[in-house]
């Protein structure tokens, strides 16, 4: 803090602090606290608010566990659902689907991004890297809505992808890409690709190239060099990329709405429905907190499993 004062003077430092405090307090913490409080209260007609019916209750949270129905579970990239032998509340089904497909999105994004990040950081001629980055960034200047729509057109039954594949003779009949969670997964991967790529690129770039050469020199194959030297070094980058993509995917509303098939429902859509269609902020915020808490617990659990510390990610 004294360092900040020294560098920017009192006026500027207090302005920074005040703006940050305003943003955190008024735009983040207070609204969250308001929603948290609302989530424990019932959705009542105006006249009853403050009356004897207005009590703290878990009813909103409990409502997520109501209405058990048959569970059609969609395996990743399956064209047909598996019907599970037990019934489950409909919202919980959607909730589980959301977590599963956010994970699938994260894993595929990681698999796609790691080689690209490695190429950019260590293989590509440094003179070409800025150009390659421009190539990666330009599509991201287009709004998320447009990009999701573009995928909707590409993946359509009579769309260009099917047309190209049929004309090239790779498939005989067009594929119904927008089935199950396929299209949503495609869209999420595309939209959040850079959030995975950049942290991994940064991590790999900070690795001393001599370490890679040392491993090679001692006889290591490329696989082993990645496994023992490069991946352990870039683990913080991989972890922060995964956390970001997972959280963004689980909390995404645009892509799951625009690229939805008839069967894919995302938990954020249920929250949105409650809040905006039913005007029931109490239930909506209860669901929102369910998602937030579960995702956080899930992420912390995964970090434990892969032995990543929070301080690694913050680096």
């Amino acid at each position: 803090m004294s360092e900040l004062f020294r560098r920017y003077g009192h006026t500027l430092t207090w302005t920074f602090v005040a703006l940050t405090a305003f943003w955190l307090l008024l735009l983040v913490i207070l609204p969250q606290l308001y929603l948290l409080e609302e989530s424990f209260r019932l959705y009542l007609p105006l006249a009853d608010i403050g009356g004897p019916k207005d009590v703290y209750t878990l009813a909103n949270y409990r409502s997520a566990f109501e209405q058990p129905t048959e569970w059609k579970f969609w395996l990743p990239f399956a064209w047909k659902p598996v019907i599970l032998p037990f019934e489950a509340p409909i919202r919980i089904q959607v909730f589980v689907h959301t977590l599963v497909y956010s994970t699938v999105t994260t894993v595929i994004t990681l698999i796609l991004c790691y080689p690209v990040a490695f190429y950019l950081a260590k293989v590509a001629n440094p003179r070409n890297v800025p150009l390659l980055f421009v190539g990666l960034l330009v599509p991201m200047w287009v709004s998320e809505i447009l990009r999701a729509f573009a995928w909707f057109i590409i993946l359509a039954f009579k769309g260009p992808l099917n047309m190209a594949l049929v004309n090239m003779g790779i498939i005989d009949t067009p594929i119904r890409w927008i089935t199950g969670f396929n299209s949503v997964t495609f869209g999420l991967i595309y939209v959040y690709l850079l959030f995975m790529l950049l942290p991994i690129y940064n991590a790999i770039q900070s690795l001393d190239t001599n370490q890679i050469e040392a491993a090679k020199d001692l006889g290591a194959s490329s696989w082993r060099t990645h496994w023992r030297v490069i991946i352990p070094h870039s683990k913080p980058g991989i972890a922060s990329g995964c956390v970001m993509v997972f959280m963004l995917a689980a909390g995404s509303i645009l892509v799951p709405t625009l690229l939805a098939s008839t069967q894919s429902r995302w938990f954020t859509e249920i929250i949105q429905q409650a809040m905006f269609e039913s005007q029931d902020w109490n239930t909506g915020s209860a669901y929102a907190f369910m998602l937030l808490v579960t995702c956080t617990v899930f992420v912390i659990g995964m970090m434990r499993v892969f032995r990543v510390k929070l301080s690694d990610i913050a680096r």
């Binding site: 001393d208 001599n210 370490q211 050469e213 040392a214 491993a215 090679k216 020199d217 001692l218 006889g219 290591a220 194959s221 082993r224 023992r228 030297v229 352990p232 070094h233």
Partner: protein
């Protein structure tokens, strides 16, 4: 076990820049061989070509008689010690050392045992489970050596591994490296810009400049009979006179300079037409009150005296202002000339060498 390394007409180009130009070296098995030269002279490029990280643009590299063309670094019988050591910071010491064995599929017990054995060899007991960050500079050095030795290489390549250490430790590690080399009898190829290191440790030294090997010889020969001006001035100190060869008489010649004519030993490939300089080491130069009989003498004025303990350096200037140095061993009874006094700087013809200029800017000449 140990293998020789042959470089036959090896060149390396980076675009238009020729980093190494037609290098021909034959390094014997079990030899401690150094490449000595200023930074940018191509010595590291040679090392990287031997280890396989760079392919030569032309020529052939053989290790143990086998052509290395097309063989990747991970398949060569070499082990490289990097300038910054490049230890794996996320692995404990013993995993670092046994990494090469892990790659070869050795079991954990075998690897652990080998790591312990090598740690003993490099005098680092009880450090197997330490983290790399817990080690001091010298200890890291030893771990790097042990890691390279673990793969039982035929040739060890060392890229200025001592440059990051402080003076005392560096001198200690010199002896240590030499001892390890003798014990293991592995061929060592050592890269350095420090002439002291190269002379002290090596069986033979190759002096390099601007991509070309200038001289390959034993440390004594490099120092005593340098073949050209570059080698003479890069290895050791000199009093230098620019001039022309006037008269050749067997191995001696008369050499005319602006400070007068001297008799000196003629270096290789020097005649009246070459641009040449006369080099004489400060320890072969003497200061006395009167000109010496039968030796070269020039009148000088003493400008400064620096007392180094075992040696005394007397700095002087001749009438053109040329800076000259005389080195005298301190035997406890030397009488030093007064600063500002007029003296004669004398040297024998046998110790002065007239060497070709090589048409390059020599380091250490302030003209």
């Amino acid at each position: 076990m140990s293998a020789g390394v042959d470089l036959q007409n090896v060149s390396c180009d980076f675009g238009k820049f020729r980093a190494v130009d037609k290098a021909n070296v034959s390094i014997k098995p079990g030899e401690f061989f150094s490449f000595l030269g200023p930074s940018g002279c191509g010595k590291t490029t040679i090392l990287r070509m031997v280890s396989g990280f760079i392919d030569p643009s032309e020529g052939q590299i053989k290790i143990g008689g086998q052509d290395m063309a097309g063989i990747r670094p991970n398949k060569r019988p070499t082990a490289l010690i990097f300038q910054n050591l490049a230890l794996f910071p996320l692995m404990p010491v013993w995993e670092n050392i046994s990494f090469g064995l892990e790659v070869r599929g050795a079991s954990k017990d075998v690897r652990r045992a080998k790591a312990e054995e090598l740690l003993k060899l490099v005098d680092l007991h009880d450090s197997a489970d330490k983290a790399i960050s817990q080690l001091s500079g010298g200890q890291k050095q030893r771990v790097a050596i042990a890691r390279a030795l673990a793969v039982e290489p035929s040739v060890m390549l060392l890229d200025e591994p001592l440059s990051a250490l402080d003076l005392k430790l560096r001198q200690h590690m010199r002896a240590e490296l030499r001892a390890i080399q003798k014990r293991t009898n592995v061929t060592f190829i050592y890269i350095t810009h420090d002439q002291g290191e190269a002379l002290a440790m090596s069986d033979r030294v190759a002096v390099m400049s601007q991509g070309k090997i200038q001289q390959i010889s034993t440390p004594q020969e490099i120092y005593n009979t340098p073949v050209n001006g570059f080698v003479a001035s890069f290895v050791g100190e000199n009093n230098i006179f620019k001039g022309k060869v006037k008269q050749v008489d067997g191995s001696k010649c008369s050499f005319e300079t602006d400070a007068g004519a001297f008799t000196a030993t003629l270096g290789p490939a020097v005649d009246a037409s070459t641009i040449a300089r006369l080099y004489v080491r400060p320890e072969y130069s003497k200061l006395q009150a009167a000109p010496a009989e039968g030796a070269n003498s020039i009148p000088v004025t003493v400008t400064d005296i620096s007392f180094e303990g075992n040696f005394i350096h007397v700095h002087a200037a001749d009438k053109t202002g040329r800076h000259l140095t005389v080195e005298t061993r301190n035997d406890g009874s030397v009488t030093l000339p007064a600063i500002g006094s007029a003296q004669y700087l004398c040297f024998e013809a046998a110790t002065a060498r007239v060497l070709a200029d090589q048409g390059m800017k020599d380091p250490g000449i302030d003209e």
